[in-house]
């Protein structure tokens, strides 16, 4: 029994993408971006604060980092909660020590559970980014649109109410989306998200409700991916981030086009006592480089939107 004829039909084989979400564009074909003061490399540090419930439903998908043992999985619940109780304070101290401005992608349930660390992040002027309700509320195909709408509304309301910030940015847990996520975000006042890591610079993303900025937050270099998934050592992770910085700075100088290093960190990973010094190594290095502009996401998008930043033509 051969395959059905659809397997040899290619209706979307055409110029550009096989969907309508964004235009095809190679980074080197675009007008060069200029960061403020002509700095070649923007550095964006994002801290993801995550809560993993003890009783995950795990639908439509189970997100990485979740409970894996039979209920009650105290081992994983507490190890993740450690990040918000202890690790995040070490991360905060490291950010302070090296003068790093950051964004915090916050599961909104943490406004109830761990308000102190959130207040400390706000006090240093950092930017809050919507990160759904918890790590058991995935936005993925199979989630009903009205349920997702309510989830986004509840999460943003909690975060906006707590912070007093507009909270215009969004990171979906696990960087997953349903087919409706972009429209729902747009309807709730979100202007940018970082789920689609298909670029290194911001680009326009289409929704039926108007456009969003897509500001990709790299996965391949984040602490959780390198240290937990790849099982590389902490010093290897630090070396990789430093190599990325060296490469991007050189490329930005050579091409005259601004580049962006986005670095996502997770206090339940990097906030452990045996790991924190490697974050300090990374932050010390990044902040000591000539040509680095450390910025929060809204500052980055403001720089991209400012007409003066774009060369004529």
């Amino acid at each position: 029994m051969p395959l059905a004829p659809e397997h040899l039909a290619y209706p979307l084989r055409r110029l550009g993408m096989d969907h309508e979400r964004y235009a095809w564009s190679m980074m080197t074909d675009r007008p060069p971006l200029r960061w403020p003061d002509g700095q070649p490399l923007a550095v964006w540090v994002n801290v993801s604060l995550e809560h993993f419930p003890l009783n995950p439903v795990g639908t439509p998908v189970k997100l990485p980092g979740n409970m894996t043992m039979p209920y009650p999985d105290l081992r994983h619940f507490t190890l993740r909660d450690y990040g918000n109780r202890v690790g995040a304070w070490r991360v905060l101290e490291a950010l302070d020590r090296f003068g790093v401005q950051a964004s915090w992608a916050v599961n909104a349930c943490l406004t109830e559970r761990h308000p102190q660390i959130l207040r400390a992040a706000l006090a240093r002027g950092d930017e809050f980014v919507g990160h759904s309700w918890s790590m058991d509320t995935p936005h993925a195909g199979g989630l009903a649109a009205d349920a997702e709408d309510a989830l986004v509304a509840k999460s943003l309301a909690a975060l906006r109410g707590f912070s007093g910030q507009p909270v215009a940015g969004w990171l979906s847990p696990g960087k997953l989306q349903s087919p409706d996520t972009p429209e729902i975000l747009k309807r709730h006042g979100v202007t940018w998200f970082c789920d689609w890591v298909n670029d290194e610079l911001p680009y326009r993303f289409r929704t039926a409700e108007g456009e969003l900025w897509s500001l990709p937050l790299a996965t391949e270099i984040e602490d959780r991916f390198v240290i937990m998934d790849n099982q590389h050592s902490e010093s290897e992770w630090a070396e990789q981030v430093i190599d990325a910085c060296t490469f991007l700075l050189a490329e930005a100088r050579e091409t005259g086009a601004g580049r962006l290093l986005s670095l996502s960190i997770h206090p339940w990973v990097i906030g452990q006592p045996h790991r924190i010094k490697h974050l300090e190594t990374v932050l010390a290095h990044l902040m000591a480089q000539d040509g680095v502009w450390n910025a929060r996401p809204q500052q980055i998008l403001d720089a991209v939107e400012a007409p003066a930043r774009h060369p004529p033509g």
Partner: protein, 323 residues
């Protein structure tokens, strides 16, 4: 045809389990030691080639009954986006590096990319890179196709490359390494010269296809493939660089006796990540810094082997197997 294999015994039903072959019967056991000597142009010890896979993965492909394209429901944002990153950002980085070390890529091409991203094809043409077929999309698997369907798919990919670059491809790597029992037979019948699908050797070897065409395997190395290294084996970038150098040292040493082949298969969404390029560059610098290295392409290796070594190898294999 100047040399033919002794006829292969057809597998009897007793040799098959669940209707499946116990051996692909594409090549004979043929020990590394004691083979006729391979010589490369200019007396080189080692033929070195880099095979960038330039792929297009569909966001929502038809669901193959034997293999899911994505681990997540549609849209599988993480998997799709990183591969798109490879084409939008990673490709140019890798290309600049290969330019710097005088390496022409041998592209394993999802041929639909000719339609989707003609800019990439144009850049590679300017550099006289080789284009070979990697199927149409890397989200369309051979699994479940009958012979006529697979032939249609392969022919479509061949003709797409011919239309785009004016030359039919010589090589094949099945899309997403998805094969049937007749994949190589079909490609040879359609005029192909070589396959990258077999990982049984560090030298080219004759491949037995049902039509008796002169057809070869060119070593492509799964172990040094960046996706296997980074995604499956989860290896650190610097260790990958060291693995490449170590593989080179040994193949270069052995190449003094008889020519060897070394391939680095890459993907623009893996090797080109900013934190990984340095180790790759150091390895390329190391290899191309040696004399006696033939920096070449898959097609050139296959053509040289077919012109100078294939028939000798077939005769040697026949003699060794007592035929």
């Amino acid at each position: 045809m100047s040399a033919t294999f002794p006829p292969s015994p057809q597998p009897s039903p007793a040799l098959r389990e669940r209707g499946q072959l116990s051996d692909p019967s594409l090549y004979d056991p043929w020990p590394y030691a004691g083979r006729p000597r391979i010589t490369w142009p200019g007396g080189a010890r080692l033929a070195f080639w880099v095979a960038p896979n330039i792929e297009f993965y569909e966001l929502n492909p038809p669901k193959n009954p034997h293999r899911a394209a994505w681990p997540h429901p549609v849209p599988a944002v993480p998997g799709y986006s990183i591969r798109d990153w490879g084409n939008r950002v990673g490709h140019v980085r890798q290309m600049k590096l290969l330019d710097r070390y005088g390496i022409r890529g041998s592209i394993s091409l999802s041929t639909a990319l000719i339609d989707h991203h003609p800019e990439i094809v144009a850049m590679c043409r300017e550099r006289d890179w080789e284009f070979f077929s990697h199927g149409i999309y890397n989200t369309r698997y051979t699994y479940g196709m009958d012979g006529a369907q697979e032939r249609e798919m392969i022919l479509d990919s061949i003709e797409s490359i011919e239309r785009a670059v004016g030359k039919r491809p010589a090589g094949y790597l099945a899309p997403a390494l998805s094969h049937s029992e007749q994949t190589l037979d079909l490609f040879a019948e359609l005029g192909g010269l070589y396959t990258c699908d077999l990982f049984h050797d560090d030298q080219p070897t004759p491949v037995k296809v049902r039509g008796g065409q002169r057809f070869v395997s060119v070593p492509y190395s799964l172990e040094l493939n960046d996706t296997i290294v980074y995604v499956v084996n989860r290896i650190e970038p610097r260790r990958y660089g060291q693995m490449i150098k170590d593989a080179f040292d040994r193949l270069y040493q052995e190449g003094a006796q008889s020519g060897t082949v070394m391939c680095i298969p890459t993907h623009n969404y893996q090797v080109s990540c900013p934190h990984r390029l340095k180790a790759f560059e150091e390895a390329l610098e190391y290899i191309t810094g040696h004399s006696g290295v033939w920096v070449t392409t898959g097609r050139e290796i296959a053509e040289h082997y077919l012109a100078h070594h294939h028939d000798t190898a077939v005769a040697h294999i026949a003699a060794a197997s007592g035929a």
